[in-house]
Amino acid sequence: MKKHNNIWLTVDTVLKVVILLAFIFPFLWMISTSLQTLEETMKFPPTILPEVPQWLNFVDAMTSGPFATYARNSLIVTISVIIIQLLVMIPAAYAFAKYEFFGKNVLFALVLIAFMIPGQLTFIPIYLMMADWGLIKTLLPQILPFMSNAFGIFLLRQYFMQIPEEIIEAARLDNANEFKIMWKIMVPMSKPALATVALFSFVSHWNDYFWPLVMTDSNEVRPLTLGISMLRETEGISNWHIIMAGNVVLVVPILIVYLFCSKQIVRAFVYSGIK
């Protein structure tokens, strides 16, 4: 019996390692390439550990354009999008989950429809509108269309609906106003959902290439993703080591946020007492 268990444990571990490797390999490959010389990147068989780590690749990548501006734009856009989305989503999801009002289902259906329309359908009219308003030279075309997040409203509503009515009733009896209920009860109890939505939102806006490519035409308002795509050669041999150094810089904030969020998710699960 014990032997049997051991076999399963081994199979289990091996499978986990295989899956882990499949996911982590591209990352390691990227980091390794970012520390190689151009000659080394083209070697076959490829070197996994760089012979001499080329830390200057990072300097090269970051000095090849106004990367401070790109990073600032990425930060401003991503953080404002998340803050605005949370401010819009929480009350909206609360209303959809806990209130009965006229036209609720129609409105919620509208939210779901918004969720299903891809950005590729709307970008031309939005661009024309933004150009008409003279906003193309600002960061607003990257923020305004994302003030609300239909997927987030949907997810939060489902989560809020699980929170027992009794808790809210009890708070009302204690004279807590709706704002307080939302802020002091709903929000802390749904931290996992909030963290998930915020993380998704962060990753998708931080990594977004298509939308800023369409909505910007000057370097002053461009995010990091566009800056890094500039490192590629249009013709000829691309400097993969420099491109990968740029990508490492792009990925690091996501990893930091993820580490922070995953902790949050675990803690919230323990704290809220909801299974």
Partner: protein, 436 residues
């Protein structure tokens, strides 16, 4: 209570908008923006010219350096160069910007897209500008002007131009006692002789080329064929059997292992790397790759004309530069274009650095270029091949037809589809597109 809540909800929304506006102020407050805006409104001050281009990486840095040289050479015009993505992305962005009235003054347009923009009448006719200019229309190398005129208007000038060329690992050929091939027959023979096999696995290929329409088009021209017929109602090269010959030739070589046809994604980089690392002896590839390969190659590296079938021929590629008819500062825009075309510090210097083709006789005869050629004869070969440059895929519908041609290449080269059938389907699709 509910009312109270709805007020809060409304407040949140307003706050959200305010927060967004706050950010806008921050970006508008950057010094660059404030200095630029008023300049566009005051004609007496410095005029700002927006220049969109598709050059990233090292070539992008060379281009930026040229823009800087222009800005420092005078104090009337300030050119702002902005990278807008690949050729395709730049072209799409341009279409979008033209309809939204946010178009730049000058733009780099991949030569095959020029006709499409010219037909929409959004490009300025440059002929009148040559009057007060340091360069004459007749100075330009003819082979590179194929996409420059449309309905007798001169709508674009060459900028970063290239052609395909034969890249040769001379060391490998010498070892095998082979000469650089000059004809298709020789190419087939040499490529096959250079193949190294271990069992069924090919260790070394004879020839490769990127997945692109460029190379089949080159081979069509080398067989005296044309891409479109003269009336632009159909393709020319299918019914006369030339298309079949071209693809049969490629397929034969692919089947013996002489030709390595790369996977679609990033094929240009893949073949470059295979060639540089000695996995393939010869390569059809852009002249734009000469600089990178010369840096990488540890063997005797040479370039040669693309081998001829009936005649020598090569299509051209790369970007042209055009002035947008909507520009409000055409004089200033021309001042910059004139600088690019005629000043030794303009595109001439960019070409020396980047390895694109010189496009005026004056440039080709200039000392920096002559010095470069003496040092790197491979680049001279590319210029000399321009004598045989011809482009037969000129049509406003080319971008659309191109996708169909890619589909045919895909079917034949990857899926071993029947050549005749694939080309027939392609012809029908092309006729449908051209008939629209």
């Amino acid at each position: 209570m509910k009312k109270f809540f709805s007020i809060f909800a409304a407040l949140f929304l307003v706050l959200g908008i305010l927060a967004a506006c706050g950010n806008e102020e921050k970006t508008e407050g950057t010094p660059k923006d404030t200095s630029k805006e008023p300049a566009q409104e005051e004609p007496e001050g410095k005029v700002t010219i927006q220049f969109w281009h598709s050059l990233g990486g090292v070539n992008g840095e060379y281009l930026d350096a040229m823009i800087k040289r222009f800005n420092e050479s005078q104090d009337k015009v300030e050119v702002v160069g902005t990278f807008q993505g690949t050729y395709d992305e730049t072209s799409t962005k341009l279409q979008q910007a033209i309809s939204a009235n946010t178009a730049p003054d000058i733009a780099m347009i991949e030569r095959a897209y020029v006709q499409m923009f010219a037909e929409a009448e959004v490009l300025e006719d440059l002929k009148p500008y040559f009057k007060d200019s340091d360069v004459k229309e007749s100075d330009f190398v003819k082979g590179l002007m194929g996409h420059s005129t449309f309905n007798k208007k001169l709508v674009s000038l060459p900028l970063n131009r290239s052609t395909p060329i034969l890249h040769v690992n001379k060391t490998m050929l010498d070892e095998a006692g082979l000469e650089v091939p000059k004809t298709w027959d020789e190419l087939k023979e040499v490529a096959n002789k250079l193949v190294v096999k271990e069992g069924n696995e090919v260790k070394r290929y004879g020839l490769t080329m990127p997945y692109d329409t460029w190379y089949p088009i080159a081979m069509i021209s080398q067989s005296k064929g044309k891409f479109f017929n003269d009336k632009k109602t159909s393709v020319d090269f299918v019914k006369n059997g030339i298309g079949k010959d071209v693809f049969q030739y490629l397929k034969d070589m692919q089947n013996t292992g002489a030709l390595f046809y790369p996977p679609q994604t990033d094929s240009g980089n893949i073949v470059n790397q295979m060639f540089s690392s000695g996995k393939v002896a010869m390569m059809f590839q852009s002249t734009g790759s000469i600089g990178g390969i010369a840096q990488q190659a540890t063997f005797d590296y040479e370039t040669a004309f693309l081998p001829k079938n009936d005649v020598y021929a090569t299509p051209t590629g790369g970007g042209n530069v055009a002035m947008l008819a909507s520009s409000e500062h055409k004089k200033a825009a021309w001042q910059f274009m004139n600088f690019m075309m005629s000043d030794p510090q303009g595109l001439q210097q960019f070409i020396v650095e980047s390895g694109y083709l010189p496009f005026t006789k004056k440039m080709a005869e200039s000392k920096p270029i002559q010095d470069l050629w003496a040092k790197e004869p491979n680049r001279k070969t590319a210029y000399e091949q321009l004598e045989y440059a011809t482009d037969t895929n000129k049509d406003t519908a080319w971008p659309e037809v191109m996708h169909e041609f890619f589909a045919a290449i895909e079917a034949i080269m990857y899926d071993n589809a029947d050549i005749d059938k694939s080309l027939d389907t392609f012809t029908k699709e092309t006729e449908r597109i051209l008939g629209q």
